[in-house]
């Protein structure tokens, strides 16, 4: 899927930005289109991904879980083992390098679960860039370990107390800061959203996930998988997994599934399912699907996992949904918690609550699939950051 020159995937995407940011966005677009095909840049990026971040990450056959569920063979793409503890590092190193090449001395970012904030802070420390992170005060409270990590890494963490005090408000605040500071500052957006070229650029940086899966599954199984599954907030880990398979002719039969947060249920007001429950709208520079009221006021999203707590979705996902190419399903908090416990106990892997939403799809569906079906789940991050949330939730359920 290629977007057009104005950054549209079908009718989704675009550049809905205040005028002040137009030159800043143009600068990124130009710099990125040059560096994308620049061998030195790509080599430098590969170097850091391999020697600093620990790529490639394993594609692990989850034998215990597969046997327990009694259907498809389940493979886990272990982005949780990437430096920083999540796939976010693929993008933060890429964009921080880009920022350096553009001559910027400062990077800013939004964060929800804190993983992107940590990834950005690491890249800032590595490349000597002043780093400032915007994070909703509610997320700060529920993701304390990541806040401490960002501070240790030398970043300034700015609590956001406006709006619903979560991820979308952190994006608002980062954009506001950027409109005053773009001359020396790069806005290191954390997912496949925002104005063009961010959705394309972040997807490209994350595509390393799917590229590796392609090679690894050929080595281990001698064929491509039947199912690709990933959780979706903005959608960067999912795009990273899906994208390299989308262009391939012999991949047209692969069942690709994105799992949104159903929170307390799609029939309640508390969820983050922008595709299932949202409609077309414009926010944060893009036309896509958003949760909104009848007037078009953006509604608050909810999920037990801070990283899926966003009321919109990247424009390329909106497009793939409209095409019917990718299936968009959802998992509730309860299902995610159950999946979290299940993977922890059967495989000895503690997944992020975000990734647990994707695991939940396997728990619900793998048992009904043929034994020779191959399912690859993107284990986008590790769950250490979620221990407090999970322990509290489990205690609540037991009482």
């Amino acid at each position: 899927m290629k977007c057009d020159k104005n950054g549209y995937f079908g009718e989704f995407g675009g550049q809905y930005i205040p005028e002040v940011l137009k030159p800043a966005i143009d600068e990124i677009k130009e710099a990125y289109s040059e560096l994308k095909n620049d061998e030195d840049f790509q080599n430098e990026l590969s170097y850091y991904l391999k020697h600093y971040a620990g790529r490639e990450t394993p594609l692990y056959y989850a034998k215990n879980l597969s046997e327990k569920l009694g259907g498809a063979k389940i493979y886990l793409k272990r982005e949780d083992l990437l430096h920083g503890g999540a796939h976010k590092t693929n993008n933060t190193i890429g964009q921080a390098l880009l920022a350096k090449k553009m001559g910027k001395t400062r990077i800013i970012a939004e964060t929800g679960a804190g993983q992107h904030g940590v990834g950005t802070s690491m890249a800032g420390a590595l490349f000597g860039l002043e780093t400032e992170i915007f994070m909703g005060s509610i997320d700060i409270a529920r993701q304390q370990p990541n806040v401490e990590r960002m501070k240790l890494l030398g970043a300034k963490v700015n609590p956001v107390n406006t709006g619903s005090k979560v991820l979308k408000d952190a994006v608002n605040e980062a954009m506001r800061n950027w409109t005053a500071t773009f001359e020396n500052t790069h806005y290191l957006l954390g997912t496949v959203m925002g104005p063009h070229p961010f959705p394309t650029m972040v997807r490209d940086f994350q595509s390393v996930i799917g590229k590796e899966v392609k090679k690894q599954i050929m080595e281990q199984e001698g064929r491509f998988p039947d199912h690709l599954v990933a959780c979706i907030g903005g959608g960067s880990n999912a795009m990273g997994l899906f994208y390299p398979f989308l262009g391939e002719k012999d991949c047209s039969k692969i069942n690709m599934v994105g799992i949104e947060a159903a929170g307390k249920g799609l029939d309640t007001q508390e969820h983050g399912a922008s595709i299932s429950k949202g409609r077309k709208g414009i926010l944060h520079g893009m036309l896509s699907y958003f949760l909104q009221d009848e007037d078009g006021q953006i509604e608050e999203a909810y999920s037990i996992s801070a990283g899926l707590d966003y009321p919109g979705i990247g424009p390329e996902h909106a497009y793939l949904h409209n095409l019917g190419r990718v299936e968009y399903d959802s998992a509730t908090d309860k299902q995610a918690l159950n999946a979290f416990m299940e993977l922890t106990r059967t495989e000895g892997i503690i997944p992020a609550l975000e990734s647990s939403h994707a695991i939940s799809y396997a728990i619900e569906n793998a048992g009904n699939m043929a034994k020779d079906d191959i399912m690859v789940i993107n284990l986008s991050g590790r769950g250490d950051k979620d221990l407090n949330t999970v322990i509290n939730a489990v205690n609540k359920m037991e009482n």
């Binding site: 104005n6 675009g14 550049q15 809905y16 930005i17 205040p18 005028e19 002040v20 137009k22 030159p23 406006t162 709006g163 979308k168 408000d169 608002n172 954009m175 506001r176 409109t179 005053a180 500071t181 773009f182 001359e183 077309k280 709208g281 414009i282 926010l283 944060h284 520079g285 036309l287 958003f290 909104q292 007037d295 078009g296 006021q297 953006i298 509604e299």
Partner: protein, 270 residues
């Protein structure tokens, strides 16, 4: 009697208020209070995620929305205002609210209510083709924004695309009051003036809060100043009260005085 074509001979004050802050009835009173000093009133329609606004206007949006504000209330308010005044009113909002209602329906409803034009902060020219077509069809005013870093050819294009006035963003950043204006803003006004058509009206906004600002900006050749946060701050401090009306009028009068002084300077220098 004021009308759109001849009111702008001398530089004007554009006052910005947020609909429903702190309630719809109060907004109507404030519009009436400011009317005598204003060439144009800019009426904000609150949005949940105002990314181009600083904390003052964000908080005003929150005050309004948390009282259950609906877009139709802005239109009803405007209809009431039109019973007593023909001062041009432009609406200011974010694109999702327009897109969600349907661009054409929004324009038709806004015009029917008595609005003269629309400012959409996050709709740059590049994405505005259909919007411009619809506004043209309904003879509804378009206002685009330009900033000190907007290239020359884009300023010209923005000027041609703006049928009411061109909105000059004084400096980088978001709305909110600032201490002073620097050379960048003055150079920008001069550059825009040299690029835009002689009939165009160039109004400067973002950060303007006092008489000295008004005087300085008008003396550089601006055709008007747009003041928002300074008025909204008064509303925040004094709430729905007589004091608010008195303070709003005081500030408008002060700004008006600054405009006159600045204009005298400009004429002299011209």
């Amino acid at each position: 009697m004021k009308n759109l074509n001849n009111l702008n001979e001398k530089p004007i004050l554009v006052s910005f208020l947020v609909s429903g802050d702190p309630n719809i009835e109060a907004t109507l009173k404030y519009m009436k209070a400011l009317d005598e000093y204003c060439g144009v009133i800019e009426l904000g329609i609150p949005f949940s995620d105002p990314v181009a606004d600083g904390s003052t206007i964000q908080e005003a949006n929150v005050r309004s929305l948390s009282n259950g504000f609906k877009i139709n209330q802005s239109f009803d308010l405007l209809k009431e205002f039109r019973k007593d005044s023909d001062t041009p009113v432009v609406l200011m909002t974010y694109y999702n609210l327009v897109y969600n209602r349907g661009i054409e329906d929004f324009v038709i409803d806004a015009k029917k209510a008595g609005a003269n034009g629309l400012i959409i902060v996050d709709l740059p020219l590049d994405e505005a083709e259909e919007y411009q077509k619809i506004c043209k069809k309904h003879e509804f005013g378009t206002i685009f924004l330009v900033a000190p870093n907007t290239p020359d050819e884009r300023i010209i294009y923005s000027d041609e695309s703006s049928t009411m006035f061109l909105y000059l963003i004084s400096t980088f950043g978001i709305t909110g009051t600032r201490d002073s204006f620097e050379k960048m803003t003055f150079d920008f006004i001069k550059r825009a003036k040299s690029l835009c058509s002689d009939n165009s009206k160039l109004y400067v906004g973002f950060g303007i809060s006092n008489e000295k600002h008004a005087e300085n900006l008008i003396s550089q050749g601006a055709d008007g100043i747009i003041v928002g946060s300074a008025f909204v701050n008064i509303i925040k401090e004094y709430g729905d009260s007589e004091d608010t009306i008195i303070k709003l009028k005081e500030l408008a009068k002060e700004l008006h005085g600054g405009i006159e002084k600045g204009y005298a300077k400009y004429i002299k220098s011209d």
